[in-house]
């Protein structure tokens, strides 16, 4: 082996020696593993990768990655990541946080990050609960959730993360699940490739405080009917036999589920996924069980200016002929006393 071809790094070389401090069986484990695999797949540069997180079980993530990491404060990871990208736009920055961190206390920073389209990835682990603080309902909890702070059932309409993101101007939204490792890795890779903020919702099981909240979607027996994995340019099919698909009702502007072979329906009737179509993405992102399959994979991906990149260019241009402070101080109305 010579200097030019270093040994490729293995997944475990992206891991730290810190014991993973989450509950046995927690979905967070799988996501950590997926990330380490993904990093190895793309041979990510450890020293140029930074994980920035808020506070929560999900936000412990940086401690497990052998890269740079910053475990910040609750809800503010997006702001710190933004500053970091301003200081050094070349870094590969991943923001990691729970549904509470991202959507509750951190909601404002999330929408402004998306609007500015800062070039980084945002992974939101959605377990529909505040895990770290022992199980209160979160902004994504379904109505009626019983929790220590809602012993009579919560009465709030849940926040829909991807719909919010798209409304805030996100240019990349995707969804994955903790136990669908292959697809999760694919989504992580796509997120990293995209220039601008890539927002990814990861359905994650909190085995202690909200166990099984996604089992109607994620469990082996249900997943084929309850999920639809999207691929750009391909017809949107799902179901145990892969024969169900999505079609648009043009009058009512709604999607409907159709089955190939029934009522003379064939492949041409099935909508083709177009990651650049924002309205389609809005509809797909909004699909929810039990009426519709939940959209997985890359739902929307549109290229657009990234704040940090544009700013970096502007700064480079502006400093091509750097100005001198002493000169500035000496200019304008200046007089001498002698």
């Amino acid at each position: 082996m010579n200097d030019m071809t270093p040994t490729p790094l293995k997944p475990k070389e992206y891991a730290t020696d810190q014991e993973v401090r989450c509950c046995p069986g927690c979905g967070d484990y799988a996501i950590v593993m997926a990330m380490q695999s993904m990093m190895a797949k793309i041979q990510a540069d450890i020293s140029k990768t930074v994980f920035v997180s808020g506070i929560g079980c999900a936000a412990r993530f940086p401690y497990y990655m052998a890269t740079y990491g910053f475990h910040t404060i609750h809800g503010r990871a997006a702001t710190i990541a933004t500053g970091l990208k301003l200081a050094n736009p070349d870094l590969d920055v991943w923001i990691v946080g729970g549904d509470g961190d991202a959507l509750s206390i951190g909601g404002n920073h999330l929408i402004h990050l998306l609007r500015r389209n800062v070039n980084c990835q945002y992974l939101m682990f959605n377990n529909e609960i505040y895990g770290l603080t022992k199980g209160q309902y979160s902004p994504t909890s379904k109505k009626g959730t019983n929790s220590p702070s809602s012993p009579h059932g919560s009465i709030e309409q849940p926040m829909h993360a991807l719909s919010l993101a798209i409304g805030a101007g996100a240019k990349f939204i995707a969804r994955a699940g903790d136990i669908k490792i292959k697809e999760l890795i694919a989504v992580m890779k796509a997120a990293r490739l995209h220039i601008g903020t890539s927002f990814v919702e990861i359905l994650q099981n909190c085995i202690v405080y909200n166990d099984g909240v996604f089992s109607h979607i994620m469990d082996k027996g249900n997943s084929k009917n309850a999920q639809i994995y999207l691929e750009h340019g391909k017809p949107m099919l799902f179901g145990d036999n892969g024969d169900k698909g999505l079609r648009l009702k043009p009058k009512s502007l709604e999607l409907e589920i159709i089955t190939i072979g029934e009522d003379g329906i064939n492949m041409d009737d099935i909508l083709i996924h177009d990651v650049e179509n924002k309205i389609m993405a809005t509809m797909l992102a909004g699909m929810d069980a039990p009426d519709f399959p939940v959209a997985m994979g890359v739902i929307y991906c549109q290229s657009a200016d990234a704040y940090d990149i544009v700013m970096d260019k502007a700064m480079n241009d502006a400093t091509k002929n750097p100005a001198n402070l002493q000169d500035l101080m000496n200019s304008g109305y200046v007089w001498s006393i002698d």
């Binding site: 910040t72 997006a78 870094l91 700064m315 400093t319 007089w335 006393i337």
Partner: protein
């Protein structure tokens, strides 16, 4: 530069040691321009000076209302000018609202120049006058010079192709011309400024010049000097030689931050959210990209400090700025910077509080918040600017401390200093001492993110992107040296002590406290911080002139205090601490140094008058009670 000592018609000019003039009018009357041009001419005449603009809180309030009045005050003279002056010698009032809101500040016997043309019933009513003050006795304490400036201005503008509205807008130049005549000021610089400013609109330039000239010769031709004094204010002979320019406090701070960052070899990013009066830093720095200055307007103050922390984590100098309510919002994140030991400069332009309070008024009531205002034991260095030009130097000091000690630093200024201006002896940047920061770490051997420099106790600054130094930091308590999460009791005690000692250790790295004026043992020391420097300094000068046994001590470093301060204060029988708050430095000094100081407190949104401080000092100085 020569100053005519005799008016053209040979009326003698009354010599004044200093003079205080205020231009006041409607927001749309151009008083700030008149004031700043008068400032320029005065600076060029060799006077020392201090100025302060008093904007209305409203953006552009309806014409003629009291809350729409805009004013500009200048104090200039032949000896070190420290304040904008207690009482006005001359007031220019362009309408009834300007008169009613400002006349109380004119000294008895002072001159008020009034635009009679604006004293119509509508304006009088808007100002709240029941009777026209020009027609009753209410102004009899003053010398009144009422002229229909509006009409005179229109006459002057009539030869030029300007609309009536444009013509009337030159009223401010007319008034300026008259005031310049009264003080024997040279017009050349102002004419030059007009020509440049309106280069693209010759008729308007001509109309402005005509108005300035008309006001200027009016005095002569109307033989005003027969009834009104005209003045000469001699140049200050003691001003140290050098190159000077006029500078506002916030301009100086912006430049100081840029200078400081250059000195430590870092690019800077200011992350801020607009708020009065701190916004001006954002405005100044946004124009300075060519100096390597990046600015980021965040979605709120929390995002602003978050981004600034991110910047510093990334290896540039993160700076954030705000005022009262915005600083309050940063409270939690300041703790993060303390806990992760990252450099950060937090500029607080203090304003009238509590809550939103009085955004456009000044106060120095955020000292408690700066020193004590965080959860946990969270020490942080706090320094404060004394004068407009001092803002430059404290800004450099803030950058020095932040980078050398890996700590956030709070830099206090206030609403007065932000807008106040004064002549500034332009420093040579090469004259500053070397303040190279703690170098970014690149050594891989034995790297530990929370190891400590033996002398400063600072941790290394290893930035993402550096090969081999990958590590994790966070807001949860960390083990000493390695920086892994740690809940061990002993570790917590150790880290708490380190945090305290690191900041306290700065006391050994700052100048010993000196006495600014007076002797080191006296009956009274007046101790101040921040923008009270000016009035205290002048009051003490005056008292020393009268042979009182008094000294002035001004603190730049609020936390930690200079190490000799306690001993120094032992030399005084009495200590008086004037503050534009309810006694915050007072609390700090009593607690830390155990000195039984007395407070002189004023919370009125504006600076102390010299006389207020003198009076309070005299009360103590004239007591016969000796120290026990």
């Amino acid at each position: 530069m020569s100053v005519a000592a005799i008016g053209k018609n040979n009326h003698p000019r009354e010599k004044l040691e200093n003079a205080v003039v205020r231009f006041a009018g409607d927001s749309g009357d151009g008083m700030q321009l008149a004031g700043s041009q008068f400032t320029l001419a005065t600076a060029l005449a060799g006077n020392d000076l201090a100025t302060f603009p008093d904007f209305p809180a409203e953006i552009r309030a309806p014409i003629g209302t009291t809350f729409g009045v805009s004013a500009f005050q200048i104090n200039f003279g032949g000896r070190n000018i420290r304040t904008i002056g207690d009482d006005l010698d001359m007031l220019v009032a362009m309408n009834p609202a300007a008169l009613i809101t400002n006349i109380a500040d004119l000294r008895i016997g002072g001159t008020v120049i009034i635009d009679e043309g604006a004293f119509n019933p509508r304006n009088l009513r808007k100002a709240g006058y029941e009777n026209n003050p020009l027609e009753d006795e209410s102004l009899s304490k003053y010398r009144i010079l009422k002229l229909d400036i509006s009409k005179l201005t229109l006459d002057a503008a009539s030869p030029f192709e300007v609309s009536k509205k444009e013509g009337l807008r030159t009223k401010n130049m007319w008034a300026l011309g008259l005031v310049m005549w009264m003080f024997g000021r040279d017009k050349t610089a102002v004419l030059g400024w007009i020509t440049t400013k309106f280069a693209k609109n010759k008729p308007v330039a001509d109309a402005n010049i005509a108005a300035l000239n008309a006001g200027n010769v009016y005095g002569e031709t109307a033989e005003l000097a027969a009834d009104f004094s005209i003045y000469s204010v001699p140049a200050d002979k003691n001003i140290p030689s050098g190159k000077y320019r006029n500078i506002t406090g916030m301009e100086a701070m912006a430049w100081g931050l840029v200078a400081g960052c250059k000195m430590v070899g870092l690019d800077m990013v200011l992350c801020s959210y607009p708020i009065t009066p701190a916004t001006q830093l954002l405005h100044h720095l946004s124009k300075m990209r060519a100096f390597g200055v990046e600015t980021f307007q965040a979605e709120d103050e929390i995002a602003a400090i978050g981004a600034a922390i991110g910047v510093s984590y990334g290896g540039k100098m993160g700076i954030t700025s705000s005022s009262g309510p915005g600083i309050a919002l940063k409270t939690e994140a300041i703790g993060l910077a303390i806990s992760t030991e990252l450099p950060l400069v937090i500029v607080n332009a203090q304003r009238g509080g509590p809550s939103t309070g009085m955004p456009t008024k000044t106060e120095q009531s955020d000292l408690y918040h700066a020193v004590y205002g965080r959860n946990g034991d969270s020490p942080i260095p706090v320094i404060a600017a004394a004068t407009a030009s001092d803002c430059f130097d404290v800004a450099i000091e803030a950058v020095r401390l932040a980078t050398k000690y890996m700590t956030p630093v709070i830099l206090l200024t206030d609403g007065y200093l932000v807008n106040a201006s004064e002549p500034w002896k332009i420093p040579n940047l090469d004259d500053y001492p070397d303040i190279k920061k703690q170098q970014l770490t690149t050594t891989i051997d034995n790297f530990l993110p929370f190891a400590r420099d033996k002398k400063t106790l600072a941790r290394p600054w290893a930035i993402p992107g550096t090969k081999g130094l990958e590590h994790r930091i966070g807001c949860i308590e960390k083990s000493d040296r390695a920086g892994n999460i740690s809940y061990y009791p002993d570790n917590l005690q150790k880290r708490t002590n380190f945090r305290r000692d690191k900041i306290l250790g700065i006391a050994n790295d700052i100048p010993k406290q000196t006495i600014n004026l007076g002797k080191d043992k006296a009956k009274l020391a007046i101790v101040g911080w921040g923008s009270t420097f000016g009035p205290i300094h002048r009051a003490v000068t005056n008292l020393l002139d009268k042979n009182y046994d008094v000294s002035h001590i001004h603190l730049r470093h609020i936390w930690p205090l200079a190490s000799n301060l306690g001993d120094l204060l032992q030399g005084f029988d009495n200590i008086l601490i004037p503050e534009m708050n309810n006694g915050q430095l007072l609390t700090l000094l009593r607690a830390e140094l155990f000195v039984d100081a007395k407070g002189l407190n004023k919370v009125m949104g504006k600076p102390f008058k010299i006389a207020e401080i003198e009076t309070a000092a005299l009360e103590i100085l004239n007591q016969n009670i000796e120290r026990v």
